[in-house]
């Protein structure tokens, strides 16, 4: 399912002393099945932007089209939009509230009137998609689980609405490296195997470099760059100047080029870096 934003502007606290322009003529296009990385430092407008994409916030001006339909029009069925565009907030595990994992994941579909046998199937599917063992966790209280497991349950709760687009706001914040890799590979699987369009908000350049088809870079409420990870990371100076990092290997290659090495300017992963360096220095035994 595609999402198109046209010339979005959004101002918080309009007319108050704390008026802040959070989005400034933001236009973007997200295609069906894409994996998009949204990056930008705190306060750059990422969270404000994603809340526009399922109608939680209404633009001060501009339009959002979900699957070709303008969702800012009056009489729009926003409930249906929010089912189709699932939003996983930061630290989503704080929103778990039911007695058991099953009930928590079933809450959404139950609310929109899905029949119980269908719910059963959906909950099973959602829980296994996030890498948890259904039989082991279904009757547990979410509070008996580890932080990483709780976060997965929260993601399963959004998945159980069978969304066509999933927006995840820093799903790996605070997790250890293993937990980070597990959640990201599950998100990647949802995109590649289930065909769910993914928008991943992240501070980790290494992660988006590895996973995303397209990156959108925000700064001060504006989109400053859009492109494939290779295109975006080819400009490490701009990224650093707006308070973002670049993957360590990208930085290494930039520095090598400054020292006169003829190495690639679009390195994203350690494996690529190895291959490129091996080509230049050859094997010495």
């Amino acid at each position: 399912m595609s999402i198109i934003a046209k010339d979005l502007n959004y101002t918080y606290g309009q007319g108050s002393p704390f008026e802040t322009k959070a989005l400034n003529s933001v236009s973007l296009e997200i295609n069906d099945g894409e994996f998009v990385g949204l990056i930008g430092h705190t306060g750059s407008g990422k969270s404000t932007l994603i809340q526009h994409l399922n109608g939680l916030l209404h633009p001060t001006s501009g339009q959002v089209f979900v699957d070709g339909v303008d969702i800012s029009e009056k009489g729009m069925n926003l409930k249906e939009i929010r089912r189709r565009v699932g939003l996983v907030f930061q630290y989503p595990e704080h929103q778990l509230f039911e007695e058991t994992v099953y009930k928590d994941v079933a809450f959404g579909p139950k609310n929109i009137g899905i029949g119980s046998s269908e719910i059963d199937k959906t909950v099973k599917w959602a829980i296994s998609e996030v890498g948890l063992d259904y039989d082991e966790v279904k009757d547990k209280s979410p509070f008996e689980l580890s932080g990483g497991q709780r976060r997965r349950v929260a993601i399963a709760g959004v998945l159980s609405m069978r969304p066509e687009v999933m927006i995840l706001d820093e799903p790996t914040a605070g997790l250890d490296p293993k937990g980070r890799d597990e959640i990201l590979s599950e998100v990647n699987k949802l995109n590649k195997q289930e065909g769910i369009t993914v928008i991943l908000v992240s501070h980790s350049m290494e992660d988006v470099a590895k996973l995303a088809d397209k990156l959108i870079v925000m700064n001060k409420g504006e989109i400053v760059m859009t492109g494939t990870p290779r295109e975006v990371f080819e400009n490490p100076k701009l990224l650093l100047s707006i308070g973002l990092g670049v993957p360590q290997v990208t930085l290494l290659f930039e520095r090598l080029r400054e020292r006169g090495w003829d190495v690639r300017s679009d390195i994203l992963t350690v494996e690529e870096a190895r291959d490129d360096i091996l080509k230049r220095v050859g094997k010495r035994d």
Partner: protein
């Protein structure tokens, strides 16, 4: 007396009676010298945060002892000396700030210690300057960025004049800018003020700047050495569910491919120099 600020001997800790409760920490022996900067790594559930809480007597050992400046943390009559010597900073800045004005928040600790007002004023000012937040002293904490809030939390600890600060994933919720603000503050306090630092983190790049890295796994200390020593064993580090910095991994791969690169490269600068000398 020796110059160890922290000395842990044969420590075991469980959150309840065995056998129902498995020990969360076992066979821990660790000494930390005054002025050291130590990074503690380990996957979730490895016992890092429990270890942190044992250092200022929020909890006491089930078995074995923890000494802070030679004082046993089990000595409940000395608990305030221990907590004053070892300050703690936690992950979520929003849970640590109590006042509506930045400087009031920093004054909270020393006020509780019963320090006289003129001295409190001096400490608040110098602490805020030490974390580079003096200009923001009259602001409301909720209007600050995450990195700024975390620095105010650190200032509140410094105002108690601790000898050691234990930071439990202080940058986990911050963006890259906030993270580097907090890291440079921590490094400055260590180098310039001589404050002993124990930093628990999931970011390998942060551990790379420490004097010593400790790797925990299932309640035990598995590795203990300089960042170079620890990260040179990429395989072992990964076995414990951890990662290494990208350049360390790259150096490891190149070495496996027959290139002559020393083990334990941890910074981009080092790697550039090494490659240029090939």
């Amino acid at each position: 007396m020796n110059n160890n600020i922290i000395s842990i001997q044969n420590l075991k800790f469980a959150y309840g009676k065995e056998p129902e409760y498995e020990p969360v920490l076992k066979d821990i022996d660790l000494s930390v010298k005054k002025g050291e900067f130590i990074a503690v790594l380990g996957e979730n559930g490895s016992g890092k945060s429990t270890l942190a809480k044992l250092l200022n007597a929020l909890i006491v050992p089930s078995d074995g002892d923890v000494f802070i400046n030679g004082i046993n943390t089990k000595d409940s009559s000395k608990i305030w000396d221990i907590r004053q010597a070892v300050g703690m900073v936690f992950q979520n800045p929003d849970n640590q700030l109590v006042s509506t004005i930045v400087e009031d928040d920093v004054a909270f600790g020393p006020e509780n210690l019963g320090i006289e007002p003129a001295e409190i004023r001096r400490r608040v000012d110098s602490s805020l300057k030490a974390v580079d937040m003096y200009e923001e002293r009259l602001k409301e904490p909720h209007r600050l960025s995450g990195g700024q809030k975390q620095r105010v939390a650190i200032a509140g600890i410094i105002a108690m004049r601790p000898e050691c600060i234990v930071l439990d994933e202080p940058t986990a919720m911050l963006d890259p800018v906030g993270r580097s603000e907090v890291m440079s503050t921590i490094m400055r306090l260590n180098k310039e003020e001589g404050i002993t630092i124990l930093l628990i983190t999931h970011f390998m790049e942060e551990a790379a700047v420490a004097d010593r890295v400790i790797v925990m796994n299932r309640g035990e200390i598995k590795m203990n050495g300089t960042p170079k020593e620890v990260f040179s064993d990429v395989k072992e580090v990964k076995e414990y569910g951890l990662d290494v910095p990208q350049v360390t991994e790259l150096a490891y791969m190149l070495r496996n491919a027959g290139i002559d690169i020393p083990a334990g490269v941890i910074t981009v600068d080092e790697m550039v120099d090494i490659l240029c000398q090939l």
